[in-house]
Point group: C2
Chain length 145, copies 2
């Protein structure tokens, strides 16, 4: 297992243990994790702290040059908001745990020359499948899909 | 002047008075402001709290049905991240103060059937022109454009 995807999964599991939605992410530059994050919709009543956004936020203010050489690891295919953040910051490489339980804006990202690697990771898939089965109301609350 | 665009401008000016980037936004539903926000990159060292994101965050957890009937007012054309958030939440109507000093992802939003109204508001334009002239380094820090 890639150590950075493992770090993203660790974040997702931390979120689950807090009663949250199990999606985690890390932003990596030059072989080091700049920021770790997980979805905080439940924990902080947040509409914007998805895993990827939380990782970007925790990485703090970075110059454009860092983002352009960074890789974002996320346990789940990035939604429109997180994909928009990837485009804003010109992140060129995204590693995705799985895209079976939710397909984000992968087509849009590819059309803008972002390199996507989908790992089809079973731990990521099982985490989301179980969460959606156990908490369908929470999963469907905001975007109703 | 539309009262909601005025509220967004008030937010932008609040941000400027705090030493921040003068971009403000309000999320409106059923004639009422659900959330107000302004860019907090400087104030909170935030990479994700753009004006629109801050307004969405301050509106709190809302059901999908509310977002779909809401209008987002923003003093500046929404960037990729904020446009992504608009798409995620299915916000169908966005009122934009100006798009001369920065052109966001308006084409993408239109291609997804988001109705955009651009007001070409001089207060919004002058606020950004002055800020970019006075603080070019800050304006170019993150996305380098």
């Amino acid at each position: 297992m890639n150590e950075f995807m493992q770090a993203a999964i660790d974040e997702a599991q931390k979120g689950l243990a807090e009663g949250g939605i199990p999606i985690g992410s890390v932003l990596v530059h030059d072989g080091k994790i700049l920021g770790r994050g997980h979805n905080r919709r439940v924990q902080q009543g947040s509409a914007i702290l998805h895993g990827e956004m939380d990782a970007l936020e925790n990485a703090g203010r970075q110059p454009a040059s860092v983002y352009r050489e960074a890789t974002l690891y996320t346990t789940l295919s990035p939604c429109a908001m997180c994909s928009g953040a990837i485009l804003l910051y010109g992140i060129k490489h995204v590693v995705i745990g799985e895209n079976v339980t939710f397909m984000g804006e992968e087509k849009l990202l590819k059309s803008r020359d972002v390199r996507l690697e989908v790992l089809h990771n079973e731990t990521c898939q099982n985490m989301m499948r179980r969460f959606i089965a156990e908490q369908p109301k929470l999963w469907n609350e905001d975007i109703g899909c």
